[in-house]
C-alpha cells in the first residue's frame, strides 16, 4: 500500500529536488531522475504481479476538498487496469529518461527538461492510480500542463510557442466537457468516488437530464461529456490538430507523452468508466464512430507527410482512433492491449526517429535523407522492428493487438463489420506509410546534404540501449495477448476489471450476432456447444427474439465468479447488479449474446474465422509494405505521377485536409477580432464613454446651465417665483 504510493511519489521527489536546486545540478539532473524512475518501474512490476494474485488495493490518503457531500480524496487504487498502465508508463518513462541523457546532452535546459519529465511521470501516475474522478481530473490536467511546458521547451522558437498554446487550449476545450461530466456525475450519484458511482449505475439507468431543451438519458449524457475530455486528450477528430503540432517539442517527449502515455489517457479513462459507457448505446456508438473515423483520418494524412515526426504523429492519432474504436464496441481489454503494445512500439519509433534526427544534425525532412542504413545499423534494425510492429506483421506486437480489435469489431453486428472494414483499410495505409518512411530514410536515393552525410553517425549507447530494449519489447509484448492456444493471457488478466459485477454489458453488443460458447468459452476451457446466450441489459436494445435468449443464472454466476478477493467490487454491488439485470432481460429478451462477447471469439469453432481474418490482414499489411518498397525502396516516378493525377486528394492529405486553416478562420481570427471590436466599441465607447462618463458630463452640463440662474439678485428670484406661481395657478384653472 505504501509502496504503491511511492510509485508516483518518487518521480515527484526528483522533480522537486531538481526544480528547487536546479543551479546546483549543472547538467547532472539525471543522477537523481533516472534512478528514481527506474525504482518506480521496479515497484510497478511488483504491483503487476501482486495484483495478479488478486491483491487489489484501494485506499484514501486524505480528504482533498471536503465540502458537504462533495468529498473527493487523494488516494491510490491499483487493480489490473491500473497495474498494467503503471508498468507501461514507468517502463517507457525509464527508457525515455535514459535516452534523454544522450539526446539532450549539451542542451541549455537539460536540468529543466529532466525536472519536467519527472513531473510528467508523477502526474501520469497520479492519473492512473486515482480512485475518484477528481483526482483523475487532477492528473488529467497536470499531464496537460507538463505537455505544454515540454512542447515549449525551446521557447525561443515561434513554432514551439504556438504549438504549446494550441495543445493546452484544445485540451482545455476537452477538459471543459470533462469537468461538466464530473458535475453531472456528482449531481446524479452524490459522489465522485469510482466504486460508489459505478455500483450505483444500475439505479440511475432510466433517469434523464434536460440538455438545451432535449431530454437525454443521464448515462448517455455523462458518457458523452467524459468522452469530450477523451477526444481532447487522445487527439480524436475535431480536437486532434494539436498533436502533430506538439512535435515541436524535443523527441523524447514526443515518444513519452505524445505517443505512449498521455495521449492514451483518454482510452484509459473510457475503459475505467466502462460501467457508465456500457449503459449507453448512443455513447458507445459515438465513441466507436469517432474512433473509427479518426483512425482513417489520421492515416490518410500520414500518407503524404514529409516530416518524419509528423508521419509518426499522425500514425499515433490513427492508432489512438483504433483504441477508441475498440472501446466503442465494448472490447476494452482489446483496446487496452493495443494501448500497451502501441506504447512500446510507438515509443520505439519516435526514439528511433529521434536517433535519426540526432545523427543527421536536426534534419527532419524525409526527402533529404536516404541510405542511412550505412551510418546507423542499430537504429536501422530497431526501427525496422518498430515498423513491422506498427504495420502489424506477425510475430511483432502490433499484429496481435490490432487483429484482436479487428476481430472484435467483426463480431459486433453490422456496425462492427463497417468498422472492421475501416480498420482493414487503415491497416493497409499504416503498413504503407510506415514503410514509406522506413525506405526513404534507410534505403532509396541518398539525398542528404553533403555536410550532414559527413557527420552522420550511430547514436551513443545511452540512446541505442533504450532502442534495443523497446525493439525486443515490440517483438515480445504481443505474445501476452496471443490467441492461438489456451486462454488469452491479457484477457485473463483484465477480466476482473471488465467483467466485474458493475461492468454491465457493452451496449453495442446488443446487436451483435449471437455468439455461441459465450460463458463457457470465457470461463471454462471446453467448447461447450449450444451454451445459452446471456441476457442483455442495454438500454433501448431492440427486441429480436431468438430461442436461447434467457439464461440469467449464467450471468449471475459469471458476475460472482469474477469478484476477486480484495477487488474494488463488493458482493452487495454484485447482487444489485444482478437484480437489475434480470428484470431487464425478461423485458427485453434480446438475442444478443455477448455479455462478454469479446471473450467469445477465442472459444471453439470460431478460431477458423479468426485465423482467416488474421491471414487477410497480414496479406493487406504485406501488400502495403510491398507497395512502399516498389515506390520508395528505390528511385521511382510512381508517387509523383500519382500525386499529379489526383492533385486534389494529394493536396488535401498534404495539407491535413485544411483543418488548421478552418479552425483559424472559424475560431482563432474571429475570436481575436471580436474581442478587439467588443473592447473598442462596447466597452470603451458605449459603456465607459457614453454611459458612465455620459452621466458625469450630463451632470456637469446641467450644472453649467443651472449656474446662470444663480445670479444672486433678489429681483430675479422674485420674478422666477411669481412666474412659477402664475403657471401653477393658471394650470390649475385651465385643467
Amino acid at each position: 500500500m505504501v509502496t504503491y504510493a511511492l510509485i508516483p511519489l518518487l518521480p515527484l521527489v526528483s522533480f522537486i529536488v531538481v526544480g528547487l536546486f536546479q543551479k546546483w545540478f549543472r547538467n547532472q539532473a539525471h543522477l537523481i531522475c533516472v534512478p528514481m524512475v527506474f525504482l518506480s518501474f521496479a515497484l510497478s512490476l511488483t504491483a503487476l504481479f501482486d495484483v495478479a494474485q488478486g491483491n487489489t488495493v484501494n485506499v484514501d490518503f486524505f480528504e482533498w476538498i471536503p465540502v458537504g457531500s462533495f468529498n473527493p480524496t487523494f488516494g491510490v487504487m491499483v487493480d489490473q487496469l491500473t497495474a498494467s498502465m503503471l508498468v507501461l508508463v514507468t517502463l517507457v518513462s525509464s527508457l525515455v529518461h535514459l535516452y534523454t541523457v544522450g539526446y539532450m546532452h549539451g542542451d541549455k535546459g537539460y536540468d529543466r527538461f529532466f525536472a519536467y519529465i519527472s513531473l510528467f511521470t508523477f502526474s501520469m501516475l497520479v492519473l492512473v492510480t486515482s480512485n475518484n474522478f477528481l483526482q483523475l481530473f487532477f492528473g488529467w490536467e497536470a499531464v496537460g500542463l507538463c505537455s505544454y511546458l515540454l512542447i515549449v521547451h525551446w521557447y525561443e522558437r515561434k513554432a514551439s510557442c504556438n504549438a504549446s498554446l494550441k495543445a493546452f487550449i484544445q485540451n482545455r476545450v476537452g477538459d471543459f466537457g470533462f469537468a461538466i461530466g464530473i458535475f453531472l456525475i456528482w449531481v446524479t450519484f452524490d459522489s465522485v468516488d469510482y466504486q460508489t458511482v459505478f455500483a450505483a449505475v444500475p439505479e440511475h439507468l432510466d433517469e434523464s437530464v434536460s440538455f438545451l431543451g432535449w431530454e437525454v438519458n443521464v448515462m448517455t449524457m455523462i458518457a458523452l461529456l467524459l468522452f469530450v475530455g477523451a477526444v481532447g486528450k487522445s487527439a480524436q477528430f475535431l480536437l486532434h490538430s494539436w498533436l502533430p503540432d506538439a512535435m515541436e517539442g524535443p523527441t523524447p517527449i514526443s515518444a513519452l507523452i505524445h505517443a505512449a502515455t498521455m495521449v492514451t489517457a483518454g482510452i484509459f479513462m473510457v475503459s475505467r468508466c466502462h460501467p457508465i459507457f456500457n449503459a449507453s448505446e448512443v455513447a458507445m456508438m459515438t465513441v466507436a464512430i469517432v474512433g473509427g473515423f479518426t483512425a482513417l483520418f489520421g492515416a490518410t494524412i500520414a500518407l503524404t507527410q514529409n516530416d518524419i515526426k509528423k508521419v509518426v504523429a499522425y500514425s499515433t492519432m490513427s492508432q489512438l482512433g483504433y483504441m477508441v474504436m475498440a472501446c466503442g464496441i465494448g472490447a476494452y481489454a482489446a483496446g487496452m492491449f493495443h494501448l500497451l503494445t502501441h506504447g512500446v512500439f510507438k515509443a520505439l519509433l519516435f526514439l528511433a526517429a529521434g536517433s535519426v534526427i540526432h545523427a543527421l544534425a536536426g534534419e527532419q525532412d524525409i526527402r533529404r535523407m536516404g541510405q542511412a542504413k550505412r551510418h546507423m545499423p542499430t537504429t536501422y534494425w530497431t526501427m525496422l522492428w518498430g515498423s513491422l510492429a506498427l504495420a502489424g506483421i506477425f510475430p511483432f506486437a502490433g499484429f496481435f493487438s490490432k487483429d484482436e480489435i479487428l476481430w472484435q469489431a467483426w463480431n459486433t453486428g453490422m456496425m462492427g463489420k463497417g468498422l472492421w472494414l475501416v480498420g482493414i483499410i487503415v491497416a493497409f495505409m499504416t503498413a504503407f506509410y510506415t514503410f514509406r518512411v522506413f525506405f526513404l530514410v534507410f534505403y532509396g536515393a541518398d539525398n542528404m546534404d553533403h555536410e550532414v552525410r559527413h557527420h552522420a553517425h550511430e547514436s551513443p549507447k545511452v540512446i541505442t540501449i533504450p532502442l534495443v530494449t523497446l525493439a525486443i519489447g515490440s517483438l515480445l509484448v504481443g505474445w501476452l495477448g496471443q490467441p492461438f492456444w489456451g486462454k488469452n493471457p491479457v484477457h485473463e488478466y483484465m477480466s476482473p476489471v471488465f467483467q466485474s459485477a458493475v461492468s454491465g454489458t457493452p451496449a453495442l453488443q446488443a446487436h451483435a450476432t449471437p455468439l455461441p460458447d459465450l460463458v463457457t468459452a470465457a470461463f471454462a476451457d471446453d467448447d461447450g456447444h449450444g451454451a445459452p446466450a446471456a441476457p442483455e441489459a442495454a438500454l433501448g436494445a431492440e427486441a429480436a427474439v431468438t430461442p436461447d435468449a434467457v439464461a440469467t443464472p449464467e450471468v449471475a454466476m459469471s458476475a460472482e465468479a469474477v469478484v476477486t478477493p480484495g477487488a474494488v467490487v463488493t458482493p452487495e454491488a454484485a447482487v444489485s447488479a444482478e437484480a437489475v439485470v434480470t428484470p431487464e432481460a425478461a423485458a427485453h429478451p434480446v438475442a444478443a449474446a455477448a455479455a462478454h462477447g469479446e471473450e467469445a471469439g477465442h472459444g471453439g469453432h470460431d478460431k477458423g474465422a479468426e485465423f482467416a481474418l488474421m491471414a487477410l490482414s497480414m496479406l493487406v499489411a504485406v501488400s502495403g509494405i510491398w507497395m512502399a518498397h516498389r515506390w520508395y525502396g528505390r528511385p521511382s516516378q510512381a508517387p509523383s505521377r500519382l500525386a499529379a493525377a489526383y492533385q486534389t486528394l494529394y493536396q488535401g492529405s498534404l495539407n491535413k485536409w485544411y483543418w488548421d486553416e478552418l479552425y483559424d478562420a472559424i475560431f482563432t481570427r474571429p475570436t481575436l477580432r471580436l474581442a478587439n471590436r467588443m473592447w473598442r466599441v462596447a466597452d470603451d465607447i458605449i459603456i465607459d464613454k457614453v454611459l458612465v462618463d455620459g452621466v458625469a458630463i450630463t451632470t456637469r452640463i446641467t450644472g453649467e446651465i443651472l449656474k446662470f440662474f444663480q445670479t444672486g439678485r433678489v429681483q430675479h428670484y422674485a420674478m422666477v417665483m411669481s412666474l412659477g406661481i402664475f403657471v401653477i395657478v393658471g394650470g390649475f384653472f385651465l385643467f
Binding site: E141, A142, Y155, F183, M678, I687, V692
Partner: protein
C-alpha cells in the same frame, strides 16, 4: 489578549500616528513594515483560536459609541469574514515591500496612507454595526483616492476621480438603504439583530436594488466595471494589489453579509438577474482581457471575469457554491495580487506595461518567470493550485442549482487559458530580441520574499484547502438556513 480584534483593526492606525511623528522616510518604511507584519501575526490567533463548531460571531466586542443614534462600536468575525481579515493582514507587508523603491517621492505619506487604509479595510470585514461598517467603507476610499491620484501614472487624476465618484455614488445608495433599515428594523444598526428582522418583501426589492448598485460597482459586476481598468492601470503596484485583492471583495462580502441574510426574498427574486450579469461578466471579462495590449489592463479585466465566478457561487444557494465563492475571494486575492506584484517587478525594471515591449523573459529572468507561470496557472484554475478549488466548487454548486449557468460560466475556464497563456507566450516565451530585455536582472532578495509566500499559498490552498474550508462550514450552513425558508423552491426558472 483582550480586545484582539480591536488590536488587529487599529494597530495600523496607531502605526500611522507614529509615522506622522517621524520625518525620515526610511524609518517610516521600516515602521510600516514592522507594523504590518505585527498586525498579521496578531491576526493569526483569530484563525487558530476560531471555534469551527459554531456559526455565531466570535471575538465579539461591543460598546456604546453614539447612544443618541443607537450606534455601537460592535465588531466580531464569523466563518465568512475570518479569512478575508487574514488575507488582508497577510498581503499588507507585501504591499509595503513592493513599494520600497518603487515609491521614491513622498514615500512617508504613501506608507501612512497604506496604514490608514489597512485599518479601514479590516474594519469593514469586522464591523457588526451598520453605521460602523459604513464609516469604514467610506474611510477606505480616501487613502485609495490619494494613492491613485498622487502616486499614479500619467492619467492618474482622471482615474482617481472616476474611481472616487463612481464608488461614492454607489455608497450613497447604500447609505439610503441602511437608514431605511434602521427605521424599519427596530431602530438599530446592529447587524446580527437586523438579520432576524425579516423586512417587508416589497421594501426588500428597493433595498436590494440600492445595495445591488453599491456592491455591484465595487465587485465590479458587468456593466459597472469600467472604472476598474483605469484605476488599475494608473495605480502604483501596491494600490493595484490592494484594489484587486481586498477592495473588490468588499462588494461580494456585502452581498453575503447584508443581501442574502437580510433581504432573502429579494435575493431570490434578483437571482436570475445576478446570475445573468455574472455569466456575462465571466465571458465578457475574458474577451476584454484577450484584446488588451497592456498587462495591467489584461489582469484588470481578468478580475472582472473571476469576480463573476464569485458572484455566481454566492447566488446558487448551496454549500459548494457559497464556500467556493468565499474561497475564490481569497484565491483571487492571492493570485491576482501576486500577478500585479509580478507586473510591478518588471515595471520597476522597464517602466512599461506594454506586452509587446517584453518577450523571452524566460531567458533573463528564469526565477521570476517560474513564479509568474505558477500564478498564471493558478489564475487559469489548474488542479493543484488554489484557483481550481474555488472555481470548481463554484461551478459544481452552480450546476446543481442551474446547469446552464454552470455550463456557460465554465466556458470561462477555456477563455481564461486563452488570454493568460497568450500573455505568457508573448511575455515569457518567444525570442528575447529587445536589447533592453537582454540585460534584465532576475528577482532580488526583497522581491523573492514578496512572491515566494504567495507561491506557498497557491499550493497550500490548492492541495490541502481543508483548514480554509473547515472554518466556513458552520457559518455557510447557517447562512443557508437563513435563506432556506424562502429559497425552498430553489430552482428558479431562467431563460
Amino acid at each position: 489578549m483582550d480586545h484582539l480584534i480591536s488590536w488587529v483593526i487599529f494597530l495600523p492606525l496607531i502605526g500611522a500616528a507614529i509615522a506622522l511623528l517621524v520625518r525620515d522616510h526610511q524609518t517610516v518604511k521600516i515602521i510600516t513594515l514592522v507594523i504590518t507584519v505585527a498586525d498579521f501575526l496578531i491576526s493569526l490567533p483569530l484563525w487558530l483560536g476560531f471555534d469551527h463548531g459554531t456559526a455565531a460571531f466570535q471575538f465579539v466586542e461591543k460598546a456604546a459609541w453614539i447612544p443618541t443614534f443607537h450606534i455601537n462600536y460592535h465588531v466580531g468575525i464569523d466563518g465568512i469574514s475570518l479569512l478575508l481579515v487574514i488575507m488582508t493582514t497577510f498581503l499588507a507587508p507585501f504591499c509595503v515591500l513592493c513599494s520600497w523603491h518603487a515609491i521614491a517621492e513622498r514615500s512617508r505619506e504613501f506608507m501612512i496612507n497604506l496604514l490608514v487604509m489597512q485599518t479601514a479595510m479590516i474594519g469593514v470585514f469586522c464591523a457588526l454595526d451598520m453605521a460602523l461598517f459604513y464609516i469604514f467603507w467610506e474611510a477606505m476610499l480616501i487613502p485609495m483616492y490619494l494613492i491613485i491620484g498622487v502616486w499614479g501614472g500619467v492619467n492618474r487624476i482622471y482615474a482617481a476621480v472616476k474611481f472616487f465618484l463612481y464608488t461614492l455614488a454607489g455608497s450613497l445608495l447604500l447609505l439610503v438603504a441602511l437608514i431605511y433599515m434602521f427605521f424599519n428594523g427596530g431602530h438599530t444598526f446592529d447587524i446580527p439583530t437586523l438579520m432576524t428582522v425579516g423586512f417587508d418583501p416589497r421594501a426588500q426589492m428597493w433595498l436590494f436594488a440600492a445595495m445591488l448598485i453599491a456592491f455591484a460597482i465595487k465587485v465590479p459586476m458587468f456593466p459597472f466595471h469600467t472604472w476598474l481598468p483605469h484605476a488599475h492601470v494608473q495605480a502604483p503596484t501596491a494600490g493595484s494589489v490592494i484594489l484587486a485583492s481586498v477592495m473588490l471583495k468588499m462588494g461580494t462580502y456585502g452581498f453575503l453579509r447584508f443581501c442574502l441574510p437580510m433581504l432573502t426574498d429579494a435575493s431570490i427574486s434578483y437571482t436570475p438577474l445576478i446570475l445573468t450579469l455574472s455569466v456575462i461578466a465571466v465571458i465578457y471579462g475574458a474577451y476584454m482581457a484577450l484584446a488588451q495590449s497592456d498587462i495591467k489592463k489584461l489582469i484588470a479585466y481578468s478580475s472582472v471575469s473571476h469576480m463573476g465566478f464569485v458572484m455566481i457561487g454566492m447566488f446558487v444557494y448551496n454549500q459548494q457554491g457559497i464556500e467556493g465563492a468565499i474561497l475564490q475571494m481569497i484565491n483571487h486575492g492571492v493570485t491576482t495580487g501576486a500577478l500585479f506584484l509580478c507586473v510591478g517587478v518588471i515595471y520597476d525594471r522597464r517602466h512599461t506595461r506594454e506586452i509587446s515591449e517584453y518577450g523571452g523573459l524566460a531567458k533573463t529572468m528564469p526565477v521570476f518567470c517560474t513564479m509568474f507561470m505558477i500564478f498564471t496557472f493558478s489564475s487559469i484554475g489548474l488542479p493543484g493550485t488554489n484557483g481550481f478549488v474555488g472555481e470548481f466548487l463554484v461551478l459544481l454548486g452552480a450546476y446543481k442549482f442551474h446547469p446552464l449557468t454552470s455550463v456557460l460560466a465554465a466556458t470561462g475556464i477555456v477563455l481564461g487559458a486563452v488570454y493568460m497563456l497568450h500573455l505568457v507566450a508573448r511575455m515569457v516565451w518567444s525570442e528575447c530580441s529587445n536589447p533592453e530585455n537582454q540585460k534584465l536582472t532576475d528577482l532580488n532578495l526583497r522581491e523573492w520574499f514578496v512572491l515566494a509566500p504567495l507561491v506557498v499559498m497557491v499550493f497550500w490552498i490548492g492541495l490541502y484547502p481543508a483548514p480554509f474550508l473547515d472554518v466556513m462550514h458552520e457559518s455557510v450552513l447557517h447562512l443557508l438556513d437563513q435563506t432556506a425558508g424562502v429559497a425552498g423552491a430553489q430552482q428558479i426558472a431562467m431563460n
